[in-house]
Subunit: 103 residues, 2 copies
């Protein structure tokens, strides 16, 4: 539906996208890490979008993940906070970001 095509369009048009909520510390952690690494990234604050809950459902439908943060790099679904932190600990995050043209 509308929300699904909208989220797909956002993901395909930005190297890095973080679907987030403004009050969430887990989302803040991911955004802070990306900033520290010098990456440019698109943030969609679902609690501030008029169709935020529709977008969250569309993301759940598309990725199987109903929670925030929901992170995409180079059009690829990465996952949530834990997934991003794990990639970073494995030294895999920086290469992904560079490949995607975010750094």
């Amino acid at each position: 539906e509308m929300a699904l095509s909208k989220v797909k369009e956002i993901v395909s048009s930005h190297p890095v996208v973080v679907f987030s909520k403004t009050y969430c510390s887990y989302c803040k952690k991911v955004k802070q890490l990306l900033s520290q690494l010098g990456a440019s990234y698109k943030v969609i604050e679902l609690d501030e979008e008029s169709d935020g809950s529709e977008m969250q459902s569309a993301l759940a439908q598309w990725t199987g993940q109903s929670t925030v943060p929901n992170v995409f790099i180079g059009g690829k679904h990465i996952g949530g906070c834990d997934a991003v932190m794990e990639k970073h600990q494995q030294g895999k995050l920086l290469p992904l970001l560079t490949e995607a043209g975010a750094i």
Copy 2:
């Protein structure tokens, strides 16, 4: 007002109280740590209480902390997730919990 006396009454009548929100990973982290340490604790899920936002404002007024999780041990304000984790890393959490009769 009503909410302020209510939160003070909850804090004074339980060794450990966690003011929380059901969907919050930071709150989940604190609850999981306390469980792992074998502590009994009272959880108030502010998003499930009819006067949850009033209680959150009352807590902010009383403790200066407007966020969740908001943790009290032995009637003493401890703080949020970071504060609890720091106490634990310093080896100070277990003694506090024991002293309060939560373990």
